[in-house]
Symmetry: C2
DNA sequence: CCGAATTAATCCACGTTATGGACTTAATAT
DNA sequence: ATATTAAGTCCATAACGTGGATTAATTCGG
């Protein structure tokens, strides 16, 4: 239910509105902010003053909006004080990054670890080291870490990972294993948000994360759609052929059995081992470029299967556009065309526009960036909460 | 973007919060309202006074919350003043209803019209008559009609019906053909909302409307999910078998080809004609009850296909529960079991709870009721807007 | 080169809204 | 009958945004 407002919550919201507008409209004068938000110049001035005091905003030169008259002093987000830590646990690596309020990446580090063989405790201890390194570097730059988010490959329910089949984790309460207050979210969700904030994607899109599994994150009106229990977006298990090959999810003919990384490599005649040998995808790319028929055929079929699953997804969720990320990003050239063809054949009669298929520009970094970005966006939405911590 | 708040909008929101709580928590004292909303008793008292003045709330007897002390005077929604008109255009009938602020149905009328053979203008002129009758009756009861919504079978984009294949309508701007300010929305969407508000469904569910076509409306946290362009929920065209029979949507093997009303009747050996002969479903019910093997087999197959499509829907949208409405309501007994079996087999490994399948308790009335309910819920969310019109 | 016009930002008195403690009212318990 | 408890109202106060006046910094026209 919507919460009742009091004077302080009104102020908090308005502060968020003003800061959000500063973020959106770049360097902008107080007068223009007043115009856009509908608040008076007086109110905006006071708020901008507070935001400057708390180190979230700085003045930067002058702007001339009209032709005549006194020019305004522009204000913009300051990246010098508030920052966020994004962490990612994936099947074969860990990564961390620190992002400032302007969404500039200030620190970034990664480490190859096989988390399938390591225990959750071991993995988390590696992650702790990586996080500490990133935090130290950030503090050396004078940054204050407002919060941390961890991306994990699997459905998350309030910090608890009930089952992450690709990691082999069961009932792990991730934040408890880290010496840092942190929140946890699904890798596919955060990758979608990463694409939204760092990849200049539109306001409405479906981001497809092709990894060992295939996940998807739907963004509508700039907000992530999570479903009733936060488990939405499991594109990998959408039914492509009801009596197709058995899937580890218990179903048959799921998309993952046609376009998942393992299935794709196997169909291409590479790496029969589950999980794929290291270098599987680079090898596949090489053979595709060399024009070998079997890999080409494998991509064609995977693309068609993806097209079928996306057709169902479009009918059900009506995304604006579709962004292919993860391993589908390097494979875009070979996968997108058959997928697009399949979708167009099946959708064009009912809709006058079939969602466009585009490539992710972030690839594998999307989730880590999204994790940090989520914290930043929360601070911007409610700067009142953070003003004490951020101020010098 | 979220809007900046001023004193008046703060008051408007709080008034809505209080009224919403009155709706939700039935007869309730001012003190309890203050407790729940977090506002002070003073503020709540003033607001309740305003709401009583505008005829939206009445005092009703006393309530004793604790054991000792002065009992509170209960306030609850008043159904005596504010009401809403819901209209529905469907393939073979028109209907109208007037609902008051307490969601009690005050007037209800319907008319059988074959809208496939009638032109949009003819249909709308019939609807105008029906609406006028309902409005007159409501005014005779002293009710004030706060607004009108029209339910139509087909995707709607801001009042414009681009193409409603089941009606044979193209580019019809529905509100322009009615002598009444009204909004238009998709029948499947409004049926889902009707189920939410009138059928005591939970806060999260997917409502499946089995008519000639199969639509679905997803409700998450009490709000309808519409997708980027408002076209979400086309369950009927989710792919069940990629190389199945051709569908009028241009695809192949869509759910509608297995579980749509026409396909179902045909498979049961009834009514080869598209659209079904009148009495098709009652006849089918009779034969099912008689235990005829071919209709039973048809329902079994339709249920399995529905289960496959719902499996994809659950993976993508993660609904809490699933409500079967429209023709699936009377057929529930024969369709639900195979659908449930199929879903459980495919979903239970990945999720520890498979969404429950339940019957709609409203059947065909859901959309008309939802149309009226939408207006009521808007008034309750923002009573400030309506206080002048409603007040004595 | 200087005054008029124009726009930005700040200042200050004011109106609106919610607050919180005091007070009144109405019930139960002792 | 008196104390206790809780509901509802009253009133002075605080928080916040408003809007007009003022000051500041430009450009334009003569």
């Amino acid at each position: 239910m919507t919460q009742a407002l009091r004077h302080d919550s009104m102020r908090a919201r308005n502060l968020g509105v003003v800061l959000g507008e500063v973020r959106k409209s770049g360097p902008i004068s107080r007068a223009a902010l007043a115009e856009i938000t509908g608040l008076t110049k007086t109110t905006v001035s006071k708020m901008v003053g507070d935001l400057i005091d708390s180190g979230m905003v700085t003045e930067s030169g002058a702007v001339r909006d009209g032709e005549r008259g006194r020019p305004g002093t522009a204000v913009e987000l300051s990246g010098e004080r508030v920052a966020a830590l994004g962490l990612e646990i994936n099947v074969d690596y860990l990564s961390a990054c620190v992002v400032d309020l302007t969404l500039r990446v200030r620190t970034r580090c990664a480490q190859a670890v096989d988390n399938r063989t390591a225990s959750p405790v071991e993995t988390m201890s590696h992650l702790q080291e990586l996080a500490q390194k990133a935090v130290d570097e950030a503090q050396a730059q004078g940054l204050f870490i407002a919060g941390t988010t961890i991306a994990v490959p699997g459905p998350v329910d309030g910090g608890l990972i009930h089952a992450a089949p690709n990691l082999g984790w069961h009932d792990v309460r991730v934040p408890d294993l880290l010496d840092l207050p942190a929140e946890v979210d699904n890798e596919a969700n955060l990758a979608a948000l990463g694409e939204l904030w760092f990849g200049s994607a539109p306001e409405d899109f479906l981001h497809v994360s092709g990894e060992i599994g295939i996940g998807a994150g739907l963004v509508v009106g700039g907000a992530l759609f999570r479903g009733a229990r936060g488990l939405a977006g499991e594109l990998g298990h959408v039914v492509v052929t009801p009596d197709g090959p058995a899937c580890r999810c218990g179903g048959r003919g799921c998309l993952e059995q046609y376009a998942g990384q393992d299935a794709l490599l196997r169909a291409a005649g590479l790496a029969g081992a589950p999980g794929g040998v290291p270098g599987g995808v680079p090898e596949l790319l090489e053979r595709l470029r060399a024009g070998e028929p079997r890999p080409l055929e494998a991509c064609e079929r995977a693309g068609q299967a993806l097209g079928v699953a996306l057709t169902s997804a479009v009918h059900l969720m009506d995304p604006g556009t579709i962004v292919l990320g993860g391993v589908f990003a390097p494979l875009f050239e070979w996968i997108a065309e058959p997928a697009r063809r399949t979708m167009t054949a099946r959708l064009s009669t009912m809709r006058h526009t079939v969602p466009e298929l585009t490539v992710s520009r972030l690839g594998g970094d999307a989730a880590t960036l999204g994790a940090a970005g989520r914290v930043i966006h929360r601070v911007i939405a409610d700067p009142y909460l953070w003003r004490r911590f951020a101020s010098r």
